[in-house]
């Protein structure tokens, strides 16, 4: 199973997205409601929104105008007060936050607005410096950083130009530089690439990726720009004040990469593999917990993603299984109760496929069934 070691990073990433540890959650929204107006004019604009985003994730929020995504963005940015529910940003509960705490939190966030909002009286460098001076970054450190970011964004020849002498796209890039120069832990961007041509849009996206990967910066982008959808780790779609779908974009791709390493899935066609991966869930078990219990009806098929399990038949240890091994298929294939108990030895993570999906995959892929039956036969 040495080839499995080739993918620990991929698995790590997958696990991180799937189970972001509470302390690494950049955003955790629970039952967030929001209302505009007072009295009779009071209108609910956000309905029971729940969202967890891990550090270093790039989230793209989409949805028609008026769907509440902007409201949610302003709540995340502490620009509006949380009215109902719990909203944690960078480990701080926003509901009931004091003004001085809000100010402190805002300094850890980078804002990129749809309009550039640059001071006409300041040069590109001076506008960006407003962000570093606020954080008290000494000029010795700040100045090279400002220049490097502006150069990176293609403004090396425009460092000391005032906005009047810059094009729309150049102004937007200065605004982006101002939003990221202080190395925020969370970036909230509203249509950051709308004013940019394909090339600079791509450069901005590349920088976002770097910030997310290298610094673990979480980035929330509200956009309709299809060109940058591929950068997203998660796409959140909002409709009528509710998060309608919350998809980990790269889950399927990452899962396929991992499953391919396992003997059971090696022979599957890419289409079938993707189908399996798409339907799989990732679950975690604490040491000693029972994943399946002897005598109970089978509900899921498991592939071990990480860790080790013991198989016990009538209390007697009959086998140990490691990463890449699978179990639970027998009772699904034979429609009989579980013939053994499977217990987690240490921390265990398993991919699981429920019975219906399992049977559907088996029915559509002859080779998969053959593989399973072959293995079943060998085991007996």
């Amino acid at each position: 199973m040495s080839d499995l070691a080739a993918q620990p990073e991929t698995l790590e990433r997958l696990l991180r997205f799937w189970f972001p540890p509470a302390e690494q959650l950049s955003i955790s929204a629970q039952a967030v409601n929001h209302y505009y107006g007072e009295g009779d004019a009071r209108k609910q604009v956000l309905f029971d929104n729940r969202l967890d985003v891990g550090a270093g994730e790039i989230v793209i929020m989409t949805g028609p105008s008026g769907s509440g995504k902007t409201t949610l963005l302003t709540l995340l940015g502490t620009l509006r007060r949380v009215q109902e529910g719990s909203l944690k940003v960078l480990g701080t509960e926003l509901n009931g936050l004091e003004q001085h705490q809000i100010i402190a939190l805002r300094k850890r966030i980078g804002f990129i607005f749809q309009a550039h909002n640059l001071f006409e009286s300041l040069t590109a460098t001076q506008n960006v410096r407003m962000a570093t001076e606020l954080l008290g970054i000494p000029p010795v450190d700040a100045e090279p950083r400002i220049e490097a970011i502006l150069r990176r964004l293609g403004l090396g020849q425009r460092l000391h130009y005032k906005p009047k002498s810059l094009s729309g796209g150049q102004k937007q890039r200065v605004a982006i530089a101002r939003g990221i120069v202080h190395q925020p832990q969370l970036i909230l961007a509203d249509e950051p690439t709308a004013a940019l041509d394909a090339e600079s849009g791509r450069e901005v996206v590349t920088i976002f990726k770097e910030l997310a990967k290298r610094d673990g910066c979480t980035i929330i982008i509200v956009t309709h720009d299809n060109r940058i959808l591929d950068v997203a780790d998660r796409i959140v779609n909002m409709v009528d004040g509710k998060i309608k779908s919350n998809v980990l974009v790269q889950k399927t791709a990452l899962l396929c990469q991992i499953l391919q390493q396992y003997p059971l899935f090696r022979e599957l066609s890419p289409a079938v593999l993707a189908n399996v991966a798409d339907k799989m869930n990732l679950q975690r078990y604490s040491p000693g917990s029972e994943i399946v219990r002897q005598g109970e009806p089978g509900t899921d098929f498991f592939v071990i993603a990480q860790g080790e399990v013991e198989v016990l038949a009538s209390g007697k240890l009959v086998n140990r299984l490691e990463t890449g091994s699978y179990f639970g298929e027998v009772s699904l294939l034979t429609e009989q109760p579980r013939n053994a108990t499977v217990q987690a030895v240490g921390e265990v993570a398993c991919f699981s496929l429920n019975k219906e999906d399992f049977q559907e995959v088996v029915a559509t892929s002859g080779s998969f069934e053959e593989q399973l039956r072959q293995a079943l036969f060998e085991r007996q």
Partner: protein, 390 residues
């Protein structure tokens, strides 16, 4: 925070045309305040200028004389008796005639003029340029006077003739008078011109003052002996003086005169209101400038708020802009005021003095004015909602 300093300055100076308009507004308010305060001071300075020029430590005057313009006099014996009191060096009389003294040149209507009668042997009056002292020889001649060159020109005196040193004749209270030279004293709100002459000549022109015209004195000028304690002598003399006269230091008398104009006439209040209006106009102008600037930079300032800039930063920002406006607007205001003071002085004969102290007072007033505007305008800024940016 260095940022606020440069940002305030840069925002203010970015648009030169807007800056020029703003500074013109502030300068206008500064000018208004300077003019009102200037006239106010001019009134006071001018009314007490004569007193300031007197060579005296203490002044004796009729207790009922509420101001220099009220021509209540006291007997000369009272003054002469003081000469032998301990601590007193010398006493001299000063004669003034105002309401009944009229002057004009041939062909022009007679106008009231203030005539100062001086004892030439001890000359108790020193004008700024010493011209009276220089003209002593001329003043000894009968029916001769020196003319205040700041007198209103409707008397018809020809200053060019006088400047050439030629004598011109005019009429003073129905009698010919020879104008032998010039000196400077200045008009005030009650006096439109001045003449000085010897007390002997003075007696000839104003016989109606008394059987002996020089037996009644307007101001008694007391000089102390060298080394005498002024307070001590003052208190000693007061005890021995009759109830009908009052004794004061020259400075006290000046203040009393100023207080009369400031409190007993509406003039002080009128100018205070004038200056107040200038101040209020300034507050409104400056508020408009700052509020417009905040409105123009609404999105940028709201962005700074979103970034985490707090209230103290915005207070500093707006206050600094206000102070720059104050200082930059004050300078042209000061220059214009100085020019206008010169013009005013030559038009009215008033003493328009622009002292450092008064210029500094207006600067402080301007700073206060702009700070008030800043505090009014900042409410607009603090109400900015960064949530509106998304």
């Amino acid at each position: 925070m260095v940022a606020s300093v440069s940002l305030a300055w840069k925002n203010l100076t970015h648009d030169r045309r807007k800056l020029a308009l703003a500074l013109a507004g502030v300068a206008f308010a500064v000018l208004l305040m300077f003019q009102q305060r200037g006239f106010n001071h001019a009134l006071f300075d001018s009314t007490v200028e004569l007193v300031r020029r007197l060579d005296a430590d203490l002044l004796v005057f009729n207790r009922a004389r509420f101001a220099l313009t009220s021509e209540l006099r006291f007997p000369k014996e009272i003054l002469e008796r003081l000469a032998s009191e301990p601590g007193v060096g010398s006493v001299r009389p000063l004669y003034l005639e105002n309401k009944l003294a009229t002057a004009h040149r041939a062909g022009l209507p007679a106008r009231p003029i203030r005539v100062v009668g001086l004892d030439l042997t001890t000359l108790p009056f020193q004008d700024a340029a010493g011209e009276v002292n220089a003209g002593l020889a001329a003043l000894q001649r009968p029916d001769t006077a020196l003319l205040d060159r700041l007198s209103k020109d409707y008397y018809g005196f020809d200053l060019r003739v006088a400047r050439r040193g030629e004598v011109q004749s005019a009429e003073l209270s129905g009698r010919q008078v020879q104008i032998a030279g010039l000196f400077s004293l200045g008009c005030d709100f009650a006096h439109e011109g001045n003449l000085v002459m010897s007390s002997e000549n003075f007696a000839k022109y104003f016989r109606y003052r008394a059987a002996d015209p020089l037996s009644v004195v307007d101001l008694g000028l007391v000089k102390l002996e060298a080394g005498a304690d002024r307070e001590l002598v003052l208190n000693g003399l007061r005890e021995r003086l009759p109830q009908s006269v009052e004794l004061m230091t020259r400075e006290e008398f000046e203040q009393r005169e100023i207080n009369f104009w400031a409190r007993s006439t509406p003039i002080g209040i009128i100018f205070a209101i004038g200056a107040g209006i200038g101040f209020a106009v300034g507050v409104i102008i400056c508020y408009q400038i700052l509020a417009t600037d905040i409105a123009d930079h609404y999105r940028e300032l709201a962005t700074l708020m979103a970034m985490g800039y707090g209230k103290p930063f915005f207070f500093k920002l707006v206050l600094q802009q206000a102070w720059w406006l104050a200082i930059l607007g004050y300078l042209p205001g000061l220059a214009l005021s100085w020019l206008l003071f010169q013009l005013n002085a030559s038009w009215t004969g008033l003493l328009m003095q622009l002292t450092w102290e008064r210029a500094l007072t207006i600067l402080v007033l301007t700073l206060v004015m702009c700070s008030l505007s800043a505090l009014l305008a900042i409410r607009k800024l603090l109400a900015a909602d960064p949530a509106s940016l998304f």
